[in-house]
């Protein structure tokens, strides 16, 4: 095990920059590396021009950069191949990825290939002072419980980290580090799955996962027509619409807007839960919100156990005034 040392962050590039999650991972990785007294490295795949220095400014001691036409966009087979090669040479003790489209696919495969130990969707990471093992905490049972996991002997100790949970690394342009080009090219014969197409789905307004405000409705909304009231509220707040699983099952909202254990996990500044009881499977998707507002006529509803502000009333008597008043405040 002593053959494995240091922390490796598997970075992501979005629109020519380090993705926000990568800056968060560099922050988390730097702390772990400091506690271990070891180095922090990053791996960047794709069009990495100049981003090696960026990763150093955000805390990396070494940055492995892999450039290859097959890596320009995420390709599961190609990324797994390159990342596994880098890990076999760099032998990191800890490897961090984002709990994102890329990380959710890459981390389990890489783990399967390397024989490491992976905890996904982690909310906190630390080093056990006695054993020096990575200690990962993650929600299980739809957020009803938190499990703490370790990998005693499997290496690397891997974790995917939920976006927007860890503070981003602080930038320092005076920081020094090494940019190490990854040798070797992607072996095209190992690319078994072909990417035929990438379709961007245009969504009305702001994307649910990116929204600073989410207005979500549940079964208590009663109809698709009533659901439209939430759109107006979201519109004023510059937010997005979310829905519970029952509301999606009813067809009032598309399944892509489902928030919860079997849908999207969101961490907006403000989550307004309207006419939804707060089943644990739903709460699992919004518990990371900075503030939760609940509007429900049932004062016993579970949503009031997690909300910061609440109104116990029929939403039909609340929303019109809320919308009118917010409009008024906004115009000032």
């Amino acid at each position: 095990m002593d053959t494995h040392k240091g922390v490796l962050v598997c970075g992501e590039i979005a629109e020519g920059k380090l993705a926000p999650i990568t800056v968060e991972l560099l922050g988390a990785g730097r702390k772990l590396a400091n506690e271990l007294g070891e180095e922090l490295s990053a791996l960047l795949m794709g069009k990495t021009g100049g981003l090696g220095q960026e990763a150093i400014a955000y805390g990396a001691d070494n940055v492995y950069v892999a450039e290859d036409g097959f890596l320009d966009q995420y390709n599961s087979d190609a990324y797994t191949q390159v990342a596994a090669d880098v890990c076999r040479k760099a032998l990191p003790s800890i490897m961090l990825l984002g709990h994102t489209d890329v990380g959710c696919d890459l981390a389990p495969r890489l783990n399967g290939r390397l024989g490491g130990g992976l905890a996904v969707d982690c909310l906190s990471l630390s080093v056990d002072p006695a054993t020096k093992l990575l200690v990962s905490t993650r929600p299980v049972f739809g957020g009803n419980a938190h499990a703490t996991m370790v990998s005693k002997s499997a290496r690397p100790q891997m974790a995917t980290v939920r976006p927007k949970i860890m503070p981003p690394a602080e930038r320092s342009d005076s920081r020094q580090g090494k940019v190490i080009p990854v040798e070797g090219k992607v072996d095209p014969s190992a690319l078994k799955v072909k990417v035929v197409d990438r379709i961007k789905e245009e969504v009305e307004g702001i994307k649910l996962e990116d929204a600073e405000v989410v207005v979500a409705g549940g079964r208590g909304m009663g109809s698709a027509q009533n659901f439209a009231m939430l759109k107006e509220l979201a519109g004023i707040l510059g937010g997005a619409i979310g829905a519970t699983r029952p509301a999606c099952d009813e067809g009032w909202a598309p399944v892509t807007l489902q928030v919860g254990q079997s849908g999207k996990v969101v961490s907006p500044k403000l989550y307004i839960a309207v006419a939804l009881s707060g089943a644990m499977s739903h709460i699992a998707g919004c518990l990371g919100s900075k503030a939760i507002v609940a509007i429900n006529k049932d004062k016993e509803a579970n949503i009031f156990n997690v909300a910061h502000f609440g109104i116990v009333a029929d939403y039909k008597e609340v929303l019109p005034t809320l919308i009118a008043k917010l409009k008024e405040l906004k115009s000032k």
């Binding site: 696919d105 024989g115 419980a145 799955v193 489902q258």
Partner: protein, 264 residues
């Protein structure tokens, strides 16, 4: 087209939070009395995906589930939806395996069944949600893998799979056989039909043990586990909900608007 679907029986995730109890000592959940366990939600979607392929291309669906003898219930549920056959994988050595151990047991079972074009799993289990068994399974079997599928078609002996990404989807093409993990966006599972229910009632679900699938003891040894749960706790929530004052709902709404304006 022959499909093998891996399913898991889990605690019903829709139980009210008050019924959710854990035993911190054993790091296990205490099943609430009178609440039957269910098929994990994504696994049910995987069965649905298999049924849709069978509707179009015929063939056979075999469902496997590692767990207690009661896991026969979720296999019967899958049969009532349209699956043909199933096996329960139950052995004291299979209890509390980590993702690698689970994937190993499933891989040995899949190799024993043989003759498959596609292996389906749910994207993650509704209980522990480790989200990696499908991918590790593919690595063990040496098969291509596609995760987070929201549509699966078979075209010219190839799989055409839509994979969910944040801002849309990818269209991927994979050879057969491959492993595909299924997301809930694939759509609602069908309700069991009368014929299916009858089939499920009659069907004997064999139980396979470690020796039946030729599983090596060393691969099931907990001392070789890749991950270990060291603690399980119900998080304490410190939020105190402030009920917004107001003589009428409208008054409260106006006060709430002022609060919200300060929050964003």
């Amino acid at each position: 087209m022959n499909t093998i679907v891996c399913v898991k029986q889990v605690l019903d995730p829709e139980i009210p939070p008050a019924k959710f109890k854990i035993d911190p000592g054993t790091k296990q959940v205490i099943p609430p009395p009178g609440v039957p366990p269910v098929i994990s939600v994504y696994d049910e979607r995987a069965v649905e995906a298999a049924c849709r392929l069978k509707d179009k291309h015929k063939g056979k669906i075999t469902v496997i589930s590692m767990g207690s003898a009661k896991a026969a219930d979720v296999i019967k549920h899958a049969i009532s939806m349209g699956a043909d056959d199933g096996f329960v994988l139950q052995d004291p050595a299979f209890e509390n395996l980590d993702s690698f151990g689970t994937a190993y047991v499933l891989s040995k079972t899949i190799q024993k069944i043989g003759g498959y074009d596609l292996v389906l799993c749910g994207r993650q289990a509704a209980d522990w949600g480790a989200s990696q068994v499908g991918s590790i399974l593919a690595e063990i079997l040496g098969l291509p893998v596609i995760t987070l599928a929201c549509a699966i078609e078979a075209v010219d002996k190839k799989l055409k799979v839509k994979r969910m990404v944040k801002d849309g989807f990818e269209v991927l093409e994979a050879p057969m056989p491959s492993v595909v993990t299924v997301s809930s966006e694939i759509g609602l599972p069908r309700l069991p039909g009368g014929m299916g229910l009858m089939m499920a009632r009659k069907k004997q679900i064999p139980i396979w043990k470690a020796q039946d699938i030729g599983a090596e003891a060393s691969k099931l040894d907990k001392a070789n586990a890749h991950t270990e749960v060291t603690a399980l706790a119900v998080p304490t929530r410190k939020t105190e909900c402030e009920i917004i004052a107001g003589g009428t709902p409208a008054e409260a709404a106006a006060n709430l608007a002022s609060k919200i304006a300060k929050l964003i």
